[in-house]
Structures are given as C-alpha cells and as structure tokens.
C-alpha cells in the first residue's frame, strides 16, 4: 500500500501508465447555471485517512487564483507540480467538464474519496463542493454537489 501511495504521489495524478492494473475512467462534472464567470475546478483524491493523495485535473489556467480552491490549496500548499500537465480551461456556468484518465485499480473500493473544489470570481469560494467515494458500485451514478457542481459522475 505504501509503495502504491509513493508512486501516486510521484506521478501526482494517480494516473498509472506503468501499472498494468489500470483502467480508463471518464469523469463528468456538470455545473449549475449560477450566473457568474467560468468556474475554476480542481478534481483530487484523498485516502481513507482523509490525507491528500493526488490531483486528477485542474480546470483553470491562472495559478494566482488557485488559493481560492482552498481545501486543495491547503493540502498541497499550492504546489504547481501537482497539476503539471493536467491543466485545462475553466468551466462556464451550466457547462460540463469531461475527462478520461487511466486510473489505478487500487484506487477503487479502498476508501479513496474524489473531491471537487470550485471557485468563481466575485462569488463565494466552494471548497469540497462535492466529495464522492470511489467504488466500483458507485460508477455511473451521478452525485449532486453543494454550490456550483450540479452533478459528478465517473464511468468505467
């Protein structure tokens, strides 16, 4: 378990290109029409103890605004290496963000939780807008978020 975590931290993305035990997972995050500019979103995973395990995706290009994704920022100290190569554009109100990643099998049914922190200019920060446990049973079932995220779903 420890060695896997070390590998996770190293790749920073929980994406496991070198591990045979991986599968493609599609993550779909749909936003509410909250009436504001595009939202910054960060998708990241914590382990069974609630400790930060790694980041899956950062939607939003300007690192100066990352502090508003406050849980993620607090967990990583705003370390840009955590989102290196997995950064895209911010997501407009009412739009969906769909990403497909090869995720290690070890992440599922092992107490890992997928979180989304969200922030919008001139509106409230919404850390932990949604948190869903990563289980094979939960795949394909959309879960509602708290503020900006209408629903989050993972398919594999």
């Amino acid at each position: 378990m420890k060695s896997i975590l070390a590998a996770l931290a190293l790749t920073s993305a929980l994406v496991a290109p070198s591990l045979a035990m991986a599968r493609p997972v599609t993550l779909t995050t749909t936003l509410n029409t909250y009436g504001g500019d595009g939202a910054y979103l960060v998708l990241y995973v914590t382990d069974a103890q609630g400790a930060y395990a790694g980041t899956l995706w950062m939607a939003g290009g300007k690192s100066k605004y990352y502090e508003h994704l406050s849980d993620w920022y607090r967990a990583t100290g705003g370390d840009l290496a955590q989102v290196d190569g997995i950064t895209g554009a911010s997501v407009g109100a009412g739009r969906s963000l769909e990403i497909t990643l090869d995720l290690a099998d070890a992440l599922f049914d092992a107490g890992y939780t997928l979180h989304v922190d969200a922030a919008v200019e001139d509106m409230r920060d919404s850390p932990n807008d949604i948190a869903v446990p990563l289980t094979t049973a939960g795949a394909g079932k959309p879960a509602p978020g708290r503020r900006y995220v209408a629903s989050l779903r993972y398919d594999m």
Partner: protein, 735 residues
C-alpha cells in the same frame, strides 16, 4: 518621429482604445455606487461582534467577506442549500442579494478581454500599451506645440479639432497614463509574470482538537476592527481538525476553533501590497472618487480619437500626391522637403512639376531621409524647409542637422536652400537659415544664396523660381497656388469710404457671412471659424493668387470685414475699392494665430496706422469682457481718414476701449504714432508691468519706428520688444 509614434498607434488601436476607455468609464461608476449604497459598520465594531450577529441570523454561516467599499457579504448553508446576502453590519441580517451584477460582469469582461479569453486579454494589454505610447508621444507633442513643458496650460490656438484634441489631452493625459500603466501591471499579474501571488501560511499540523469556542472569546477577532477585515471563514461543522481562516489588510492566519488561539500567521508580501494598491488605483475599488475622476478622464479618449482622425485627414489632404517622382538613384535634382503641416509639400510639388516639365529628373524626399550615398547622379540639391516653433526642425526634417554634421564630406553637387515662414514670428525661417549656414560651414557649394518665402507668398516663390531657372539655364515659371484654396463667395453689404481728401482712398468693406458646412466648422476650415487678426485672401478677377488682408471681424460678429486702401496700379485693391453693395468677390480664410487677441484679463496695447487699424478694431469690438485696451492710432488727418471714428467713440462709452490716442501726420503739427507713444511713456510702462500684451499692425516703416520707440520707452524697466516677443507679449502684423 514623435508625430509618427503618435499617429500610427492612434490609428491602428483607435477602436481598441475607445472600447477600453468607454467600458472603463462605465465601470468607474460601480465602486462609487457601491460605496454610496452600502451601510457602513459603526465605529469600533470588531470582527467578533459582527461575526456573532451574522451567526445569530444565519447559523450555517461559512464565510464573511468585506469589500473595500465596506460592503459585507455572508455565505451560508442552510439544510444543504447554499445562501448568500449583503449584510447590514448593524443587525447581521441580509439586506440585498449578493449575486454579482450581470451588467458589471459584462462590462468587466468586455473591458479586460473583449469576451475572448486570454487572446482578448493580450489584445487589451496591447491597447493599454498603445494608450501609453499615445500619452507619452502626445505629451511631447503638446509640450512642443505650446513651447515648453512650463507652458502646458497656455491658451490654445488653431482649428477646432486641434484645440479639442490638445485641450482634452493635456487634462486627461495624467489619468490615462495612470489607467494604462496600472492596466499593464494587472495584465502581467494575471499572466503570472509577477511574483505577487498569495502566500498564505502553511496550515498547522496540530490543532487543539476541541471545538466550540465563543467568538467573543477569540482574542484576535475581539480586537480587530471590521474595517480591517477582508474575509473570515468558519471551520467545517463537525471537523475538529479544521480551523478559522482570517484575512485582514495585513495578512492571513488560522485560529483554533477550540481555544481561539492564533495558530499561524503570514503577512502580505511587499509584492502583494503593491499589486493591491495598483488594483485599487485602476478599479477605484477602495478609492471610489479617484475611480470616478479616472472614468471622466477616460471619456476624453473617444473625443480625442475623433478629433485626431479629423486632424489626420486634414493633414493628408493638405499633402499633395507627387506625380512622376523620379527614383533617387537616377535623379539629377534632389529636392528635400522639411514640412510640418504639409503646405511646404505643396510648394515642392509645384517645383517638381515645373522642373520635370522642363526635362529634369527630380527626386522629392523628406529631409529626414537625407543620405548622400543614395543619390549617385545628383547634380544639385534643393532644400525647401519650414520652421517649427522657435527655430526647431519641422516634422519631416527631424535629424537632418545631425546627419549633416555627421557627414565626413558634403556632396559635390551644389545646394540651394529656400526657407518658408512667417515674418510675424520672431524665429522667421530660423531652421532653414540654420541648415544653410551649417551647410556653408561644412563647405557645401552654393547653387543659389539662401532665400525665404513669407507666409506662403506665391510671389516670393515665383521670384525665387526665376532665379533658380537662371542658375540652371532654363526657363522656370513657378505658379504655385498655396494649399487648394477653399474659396467662398462674399457679398458686400456696406462700405464706408475715407481718405479721398488726403490722396489715400480707403474703405471699410463689410461682407455677409457665408454659410459654413458642419465639416468646415469642425475642422476650422473655410469660413467655419475665423477671428479678427486672421487673414482674408481675396482672389481678384484675372488672377489666381489671393491677396491677403487682415480681418477686422470674427465669425461671432456675423460679418466679414476688411479695411482696404487703394494702391496706385493695384489690381486687387482697385477692384475692391470699386465694389458696390450687392456685388460679390471670391475669397478664402487663412488662420493667423500669431496675431490673435489671446483670451485673458491682462491689458492690451494696440498700435496701428492707416489700414492697420482693421484687426485692432476687430479686437476692440470683440472685447465683451471689457479687459483694458489702449489704442494708439496714426492717421493722416482726422477730418479725412479717421477710420472707425464713430465706432471707437461708442466702444469707449461702453467700456470696450479704455483709452484712445491719435496722431496725425498731416497738418500744422505732424506726428506719427510712435511720437504719441513717447508722450505716454509712464502709462505704457505701467501697463507692460501689469502684464500687457502689445500688438502692432501696419506698414513696415511704422512698425520699426514703433519698435524703436518702445525700446527707448521700456529701457528703464529692463524690458525690450524682443524679450516681450519671446514671451508672446509682442505681436506684429506687418505688410
């Protein structure tokens, strides 16, 4: 160079800069409106008090924010439903929606990115760079035009579009520089080019693990005033490892939810402080009044854009297209032009046309492009040069003197220099003169002696052309019509005749004012705008060249008036003296800003003889503000050529004219106007010491007599007419 730096960014970025300015001006209203509509916290209210009130009203409160305007917003969750409201700090209760204003959001996105994301942000940053370049180059042009930085706010002259452009620019430039410079800083910050990112403290690894401390018992919250607060975030309910996050004007920290203790604290970095100040200066958030001022100044940009465009068109139209300009390599005659407004190009085009017709190969180029190696076939050089300001190089001659000085050897082909200027300016043809003397000092052979053309005189130019033709051994006739004349038809309303008894038939001719088009009014062309002291160019029958007369009225007077004396054998004056009411002439207006009665309260000393009283009478007629005007008028005999006699008496009665002295050159005791000045020495000294401006109009002999008299009169004060001229306090209109 500076003009080019001003023109091209202006034309290319016109739309961009206008969009920036208009959206910025609209946005500037919001901080002020927010400030006015926001209930402010009572003095001494602490963060703990405020948080307690809000917590009582909204038990699920997650975060409290305070904007620089003092507006307090609370965010909460109530049974899993998010809520937010603007809070009245007195009650802790919501009073308005916290949703962002969609209009403001739309304007903000337009202002910073044209709704085009990062590409739009870069475009707008380029717009800000253009604005900075325009401001800097514009400021230099204003300083150059006004005659120095210290004369920044001196009265403006010239056509309306030019006055609008410069008048707005010199007020707005400070705000525009501030807005565009801060914009660039903010763009750099947005693109992470500055180390001004937030540096919150590391979250503590150890917390007390207990919860439930009372807000009032938390030391930092019960001390810090609401006015310092930026943000207070509550810990997640039920998470004992979380903590309060507090942001103030000074920094960010974490507070234990069990003990209220400060667990960690980080001050704002110097970079963050600088960026925040710049953000405040740019947006007006936290400085609403400044924001409004910047917004109003930004409104000047569209006006400057339009007037600048009009100026550019007018400048282009006045610069003729050259037909058949021979390439530099094979040209025998190299014609170099130093022009500011474009009129000298017109003379160059006439000369080029005449020489080309005579079989010469002529290459015309701006003086600033002077490069002897480019003209291997050159047999002669001709320089036509105007002068800018106090003897500086005009726009298309920038750098010529330096290039000439840097030459190892001057070309072998000889040189002729012709200066263009206005004798009423102290630095008449000073630049052309300097070019000629520096070329001579360098040993450049002379094709023809240095000569000048006064006030675009076609006669001067034709005379010089004949001499040039003689030097080249060809017949050269230069018929130059200075700048395509916008002529109008003037119909005579009335004439008042004088001077027949003293063999000097003189008449005051008053014409009806022709209608001016809107464009003429805007650009100040044609009869759109003129005032006393400007010139009326009359085109006599049977000639194409206008003869110029000083105007004795302005557009505001509602008529066009000149004073004409019959010259023996004079074509134009003969026709004018024969003109009867109802008959019409063709005429045009030429602005003559050097001889305007500039606005102000300082006294005017007007000195004139004969027809020279024309513009002076116009100044007095226009003196509705009743500044003290003293007129010294020389005539032949009061019974015959006392021009404007009744008018002057009336103006004395209604206060437009403070004092009138006359001198008669015929009669028992002949006196010239300069004699009457000497008799009034004490009074003149007093007026000059009060800041009076002296304006002289009349013949050359009279003007030099007056200058001599004034030199003597002013000697005890240490002032001279020359020194006054340099200050713009001694103007002459001589013919």
């Amino acid at each position: 160079m500076i003009r080019t730096l001003h023109r091209w960014p202006g034309l290319l970025a016109l739309i961009l800069v206008m969009a920036l300015a208009l959206s910025g001006a609209a946005l500037s209203v919001f901080p002020a409106a927010e400030r006015l509509s926001t209930p402010q916290a009572e003095a001494g209210l602490t963060v703990a008090d405020l948080a307690g009130r809000i917590l009582a009203a909204y038990p699920g409160v997650e975060q409290i924010r305070r904007a620089p305007s003092g507006r307090i917003t609370a965010f909460w969750f109530d049974d899993g439903t998010p809520g937010a409201a603007v809070i009245d700090p007195a009650t802790g209760k919501g009073i308005a929606s916290a949703d962002p204003d969609p209009v403001k959001r739309w304007l903000t996105n337009l202002h910073r990115s044209l709704f085009l994301g990062d590409a739009g942000r870069i475009a707008m940053a380029i717009g800000a760079v253009a604005m900075l370049i325009l401001s800097a180059s514009g400021a230099m042009l204003v300083a150059r035009r006004m005659g120095g930085w210290r004369r920044w706010f001196a009265p403006l002259r010239g056509p309306a579009s030019s006055r609008i452009h410069t008048g707005i620019a010199r007020v707005a430039v400070t705000g525009l520089v501030l807005s565009s410079a801060t914009a660039l800083w903010m763009a750099a910050s947005t693109f992470d080019l500055l180390p001004d990112g937030a540096a919150p403290p590391t979250f503590p690894t150890e917390v007390s693990g207990s919860t439930g401390v009372l807000l009032a018992a938390m030391e930092p919250l019960s001390v810090i005033a609401v006015t310092e607060l930026r943000e207070l975030s509550f810990p997640y309910p039920g998470d004992a490892t979380d903590a309060f996050t507090l942001k103030t004007d000074r920094g960010t920290g974490y507070l234990d939810q069990g003990t209220g203790e400060l667990l960690a604290w980080a001050e704002l970095t110097m970079w963050e402080r600088i960026s925040e100040t710049i953000y405040m200066l740019h947006t007006g958030q936290g400085a609403a009044s400044l924001g409004l001022v910047l917004g109003v100044l930004a409104l000047g940009v569209p006006a400057m854009g339009v007037s600048g465009l009009v100026l550019w068109f007018a400048g282009r139209r006045s610069r003729p297209r050259l037909r058949g300009n021979h390439p530099a390599k094979g040209a025998a005659t190299i014609l170099l032009v130093g022009s500011e407004g474009g009129s000298t190009w017109g003379f160059a085009a006439t000369l080029q046309h005449a020489l080309t017709t005579a079989g010469q190969h002529v290459h015309v180029a701006p003086m600033s492009g002077f490069e002897p190696a480019r003209y291997p076939q050159a047999e002669r050089f001709v320089i036509l040069a105007a002068t800018w300001g106090e003897g500086q190089a005009p726009a298309t001659a920038k750098g010529f003197i330096e290039r000439l000085a840097a030459l190892e050897s001057v070309p072998e082909a000889p040189l002729a220099v012709l200066g263009f200027g206005d004798r009423s300016f102290p630095a008449f043809c000073a630049f052309a003169d300097e070019v000629a003397s520096r070329a001579a000092a360098k040993g450049w052979a002379q094709l023809m002696p240095f000569d000048t053309v006064d006030r675009q005189s076609p006669q001067d130019f034709a005379r010089w052309g004949r001499a040039l033709g003689a030097a080249l051994g060809i017949e050269l006739t230069l018929e130059h019509v200075p700048t395509p004349p916008v002529t109008g038809r003037l119909t005579l309303i009335s004439r008042r005749d004088y001077g027949a008894e003293v063999q000097a038939p003189t008449t005051i001719l008053r014409f009806a004012l022709p209608e001016a088009t809107f464009l003429q009014r805007l650009t100040g062309r044609g009869f759109g705008r003129f005032q006393a002291g400007d010139l009326l160019g009359v085109l006599p029958e049977g000639a194409d060249l206008p003869r110029f007369y000083s105007l004795a009225s302005g557009r505001r007077d509602g008529f066009v008036e000149i004073v004409v004396r019959k010259h023996p054998g004079g074509l134009c004056s003969g026709q004018l003296l024969a003109l009867e009411p109802g008959q019409a002439i063709r005429a045009l207006v030429r602005h003559n800003p050097a001889f305007h009665a500039a606005a102000g309260r300082s006294p005017l000393i007007l000195i004139g003889a004969g027809t020279g009283i024309g513009p002076l009478a116009g100044f007095i007629r226009g003196n509705s503000s009743k500044r003290p005007i003293h007129l010294a008028f020389g005539m032949r005999h009061p019974d015959s050529d006392f021009l404007y006699r009744d008018d002057l008496a009336g103006w004395q009665v209604d206060g437009r004219l403070a004092r009138l002295t006359t001198a008669n050159s015929r009669g028992a005791k002949p006196r010239y106007v300069q004699h009457s000045l000497r008799a009034e020495s004490a009074e003149l000294i007093r007026l000059v010491q009060e800041g009076a401006r002296i304006m002289v109009c009349g013949g050359r002999d009279m003007a030099s007599g007056v200058a001599d008299a004034l030199t003597d009169i002013l000697a005890p004060t240490g002032l001279t007419p020359l020194a006054l001229k340099a200050e713009g306090r001694y103007a002459e209109d001589i013919y």
